[in-house]
C-alpha cells in the first residue's frame, strides 16, 4: 500500500508539472462564419463612419463651429469600434487617429492630421478657420480606409485578438483622459471600444462556451460592470444616441472603477486566440 501511495504522490506531482495550456478543441472550419460575420459588422460600421465623417467635415467646411463640435464624438465612435481592423493600415491609422504626442513637435508638426488635429482646432482654439484642409484630408483618408477594408481578407488571429487589444487600449491610454484631451469626449470612445470588443466576444463565444463556461461568465460579468459604470454618465438614460457627459465630470473613483474590470477583460480576452487555436 505504501509504495503505491508514494507512486501516487510522485505521479500526481509529475502530472502537475506536465500541465500544459489547454489544447484548443475548436474545429478551424467553425471559425469561418464568425470571421465573416465580423467583417460584415465592420463594413456596416464603415458605411456609418463614412456618412458621419461627411457631415462632420462639411460642418467644418461651412464654418459651423458648434455643429462640428457636436459631431466630433459621434463620428469617432465608428472608428473606435473597428479599430482592430482599421489600425492594420499603419499610414491611415496615423493620418486619421494619431495624437499630438506621436510627433516630436506635437501640434506644430505638419504631419499631424486627422481627428485629433481637428479636435485641437474645434475645442482648444475654438475655431474652424484654417482647418478646412485637415477636414478634406480626413474625408479622403476615411474613403480610402473604406475601400481598403472592403478588399481586405480579414486575418483571423487579428480579428480574435482585437477583443483584447481594444480593452488593453482603454486600460493603457484611455482611462487617463489623454485621448480626447480637448473635447473630453473620452466616454464615447470607451463605449466604441467596448462595443467593438464585445461584438468579437459575442461572435466567438459559442465556440468556447461549452469548454469554459467560467470564462464566459467572468467576461460577461466584467462587460456588464463596465457598461454599468458607463451608464451613470449617459446624458439620457434611455437614449444611447445622446451620448455622454464630459470626461471631466467623471469622478476619480469611477475612473479607477473602470480600470479593474477593463484590465481583467483585457487579460481574459487575451486567452481567446489560444482557446480558438489561432
Amino acid at each position: 500500500m505504501s509504495p503505491r501511495s508514494l507512486l501516487f504522490a510522485a505521479s500526481a506531482f509529475g502530472l502537475m508539472s506536465l500541465q500544459t495550456p489547454a489544447q484548443a478543441d475548436v474545429n478551424p472550419e467553425a471559425l469561418v462564419e464568425p470571421v465573416a460575420e465580423y467583417k460584415l459588422y465592420v463594413l456596416d460600421n464603415l458605411d456609418q463612419f463614412v456618412s458621419h465623417t461627411e457631415k462632420f467635415t462639411q460642418a467644418i467646411e461651412a464654418g459651423d463651429l458648434e455643429r462640428a463640435q457636436v459631431l466630433y464624438a459621434p463620428t469617432r465612435v465608428y472608428y473606435e469600434r473597428i479599430e482592430p481592423i482599421a489600425e492594420l493600415f499603419a499610414d491611415l491609422d496615423a493620418s486619421i487617429d494619431a495624437r499630438e504626442d506621436d510627433y516630436e513637435n506635437g501640434v506644430e508638426d505638419p504631419d499631424f492630421t486627422g481627428f485629433h488635429r481637428l479636435e485641437y482646432g474645434l475645442f482648444k482654439e475654438q475655431t474652424t478657420q484654417g482647418f478646412v484642409p485637415y477636414a478634406k484630408r480626413l474625408m479622403t483618408d476615411v474613403n480610402d480606409l473604406e475601400s481598403r477594408v472592403r478588399d481586405l481578407t480579414f486575418p483571423p488571429a487579428q480579428v480574435v485578438g482585437g477583443a483584447a487589444a481594444l480593452m488593453e487600449e482603454v486600460a493603457a491610454t484611455k482611462v487617463s483622459g489623454e485621448e480626447d484631451r480637448y473635447s473630453h469626449t473620452d466616454l464615447w470612445d470607451f463605449q466604441g471600444n467596448v462595443d467593438g470588443s464585445q461584438k468579437i466576444f459575442e461572435l466567438f463565444k459559442p465556440l468556447v462556451a461549452e469548454e469554459d463556461p467560467a470564462f464566459v461568465d467572468r467576461v460577461e460579468k466584467n462587460f456588464a460592470e463596465v457598461e454599468d459604470t458607463l451608464a451613470h454618465y449617459r446624458r439620457e438614460a434611455d437614449n444611447p444616441e445622446a451620448g455622454f457627459v464630459s470626461y471631466e465630470k467623471v469622478s476619480q473613483t469611477d475612473r479607477r472603477a473602470f480600470v479593474g474590470p477593463v484590465t481583467v477583460l483585457a487579460e481574459d480576452l487575451a486567452t481567446l486566440r489560444g482557446k480558438l487555436g489561432l
Binding site: 500500500m1 505504501s2 509504495p3 501511495s5 508514494l6 504522490a9 510522485a10 506531482f13 508539472s17 478551424p28 472550419e29 471559425l31 469561418v32 462564419e33 470571421v35 465573416a36 467583417k39 460584415l40 463594413l43 489600425e87 492594420l88 493600415f89 499603419a90 499610414d91 491611415l92 491609422d93 496615423a94 494619431a98 504626442d101 506621436d102 510627433y103 516630436e104 513637435n105 508638426d109 504631419d111 481578407t153 480579414f154 486575418p155 483571423p156 487589444a165 488593453e168 487600449e169 493603457a172 491610454t173 487555436g277 489561432l278
Partner: protein
C-alpha cells in the same frame, strides 16, 4: 471493504522527502527557464529610443523569430512590423524602461519597423530566405481567412442580386422593355459571379439558371423559368409580355439563395474546383454554338469575375506553396479578361460577337478552367 494496513511511517517519510526533492528540482528548472527567458540568446533584441530603432536595420532568417523590444524612451510606445502600409505584427503600449516579447512568423523579404514616434524614421527588417526551415504544409487554419472572405463576398453579392432582381421585376411588371433589358444584364452578371455557390443547390440552380435544352418541351415547357426564360422574352422576342410571374419567381429565388448561403459552409476544395466546373459548363455549351451572342458573353464575364475572386483568395496560399503555379494562374486569368469585351459594351449589347475572337475566348476559358482544376492537387487538398 478490506481493511487497509496503515502505511509504514518510514516509507511515508521517504515519500515526502522524495516529493520535496522533486519539487525543488522543478522549482529550480522553473527559475532557470525564467532566467533564460530574460536573457535568451535566441531573442532578437531591439531598442527603441526617443530617436528611433537601435539598430536601424535588422536581419533575421525566414520563419519564426522572437523579438524582444526594449523601450528606452520617455513615453509608452508601440512597435510594429509593416509590409508596405499593412501592419503584420504589433506590440502596443510598451511602458518606458520595460521590454516586451513579440513572436512573428515572417516570409523572406524586406519589411519596415515603426520605431516609437510617428515622426521617427522607420527601421528596416530584412528577412532572408532560410533553406533550413522546412516548408510548412498548409493547415486547416490557413483556409479560415479565404473561406470567411468568400462568405462575405457571397453575402454582399446576394444582397446586390436581390436588389437587381427587384429592379428587374419592377421594370417587367411596368412593361418597360429597355429598363428591363438593362436590369436583366445587371442581375445576370451578379448571378453568374455566384454560379459556383448556387450550384450547391440543385433546385435553385435549376430555377435560376437552367437552359431550355434541359426541359422535355424546351422553350414551351412550363418548368422552364429563370434567367434564360427572361432572356428569351426580353432579347429574342423583344417583349416583356407574360414575364411578370417569372420575374417574381426569380426574385423569390434570389432571396432564398441569400438566406441559404448565409449559413452554408463551403469545403476548401470547392473554391477552385467549383470555379473550374462552372467555366467548363459554359465552355461545353459555347463550343456547340457557332457564334457567341451578347448574353453568352455576359455570362462568361460574370463567371470570370467569380473566378477572379477565387484566385485572389487562394493567391496568398499559392504564393507559399507554389509561386510558379500562381503566376501561371494569374496570367491565364488576365488573358481571359482581355478577350472579354468591356462590361459597359456588353450591358448595352453594343459589342456583339463580331468583335470577339471566339476561338481565343474558348481556348482561354478552357485553359483557366484546367488550371483551376489542378489547384486542389497543388494545395494538397481533397474532399
Amino acid at each position: 471493504m478490506p481493511p487497509s494496513s496503515p502505511p509504514s511511517a518510514r516509507l511515508l517519510k521517504i515519500g515526502v522527502l522524495a516529493s520535496a526533492v522533486l519539487m525543488l528540482a522543478a522549482l529550480g528548472l522553473f527559475a532557470l527557464s525564467l532566467n533564460g527567458r530574460n536573457h535568451d540568446d535566441g531573442d532578437v533584441r531591439l531598442v527603441v529610443t526617443a530617436q528611433g530603432c537601435e539598430p536601424r536595420e535588422l536581419s533575421v532568417p525566414a520563419g519564426e523569430t522572437r523579438f524582444s523590444i526594449v523601450n528606452d524612451s520617455q513615453r509608452a510606445i508601440e512597435w510594429e512590423i509593416l509590409d508596405g502600409v499593412m501592419v503584420l505584427e504589433e506590440r502596443e503600449n510598451i511602458a518606458p524602461d520595460l521590454h516586451q516579447p513579440l513572436t512573428a512568423t515572417l516570409a523572406a523579404g524586406d519589411y519596415a519597423m515603426t520605431c516609437g514616434l510617428l515622426s521617427n524614421p522607420h527601421g528596416t527588417l530584412h528577412v532572408t530566405a532560410n533553406d533550413a526551415a522546412p516548408s510548412i504544409a498548409l493547415s486547416r487554419q490557413d483556409f479560415i481567412a479565404p473561406l470567411a472572405e468568400y462568405k462575405v463576398y457571397l453575402t454582399l453579392q446576394t444582397r446586390r442580386l436581390v436588389e437587381a432582381a427587384e429592379a428587374l421585376h419592377q421594370s417587367i411588371a411596368a412593361g418597360e422593355l429597355d429598363a428591363a433589358r438593362t436590369a436583366y444584364c445587371e442581375a445576370r452578371l451578379i448571378d453568374q459571379r455566384l454560379a459556383m455557390a448556387t450550384g450547391l443547390y440543385s433546385d435553385l440552380d435549376e430555377r435560376l439558371n437552367a437552359r431550355a435544352d434541359y426541359f422535355a418541351e424546351r422553350e414551351q415547357d412550363p418548368q422552364f423559368v429563370g434567367f434564360h426564360r427572361l432572356a428569351r422574352g426580353l432579347f429574342d422576342a423583344g417583349s416583356t409580355g407574360g414575364l411578370t410571374p417569372i420575374a417574381a419567381q426569380l426574385l423569390e429565388d434570389a432571396r432564398t439563395l441569400g438566406e441559404r448561403l448565409r449559413h452554408q459552409s463551403i469545403p476548401p476544395a470547392q473554391l477552385a474546383n467549383g470555379s473550374a466546373r462552372v467555366l467548363k459548363a459554359w465552355h461545353a455549351h459555347a463550343i456547340d454554338s457557332k457564334t457567341l451572342n451578347a448574353q453568352e458573353l455576359l455570362d462568361l464575364q460574370g463567371l470570370t469575375a467569380g473566378a477572379e475572386k477565387i484566385v485572389t483568395l487562394l493567391a496568398p496560399l499559392l504564393e507559399r506553396q507554389a509561386p510558379d503555379a500562381l503566376e501561371g494562374l494569374q496570367a491565364q486569368l488576365a488573358r481571359l479578361q482581355q478577350d472579354l469585351p468591356e462590361q459597359s459594351n456588353t450591358v448595352s449589347g453594343a459589342k456583339g460577337s463580331s468583335d470577339i475572337d471566339r476561338d481565343a475566348l474558348l481556348a482561354d476559358t478552357q485553359a483557366l478552367a484546367d488550371t483551376l482544376d489542378s489547384l486542389d492537387r497543388t494545395l494538397a487538398l481533397n474532399g
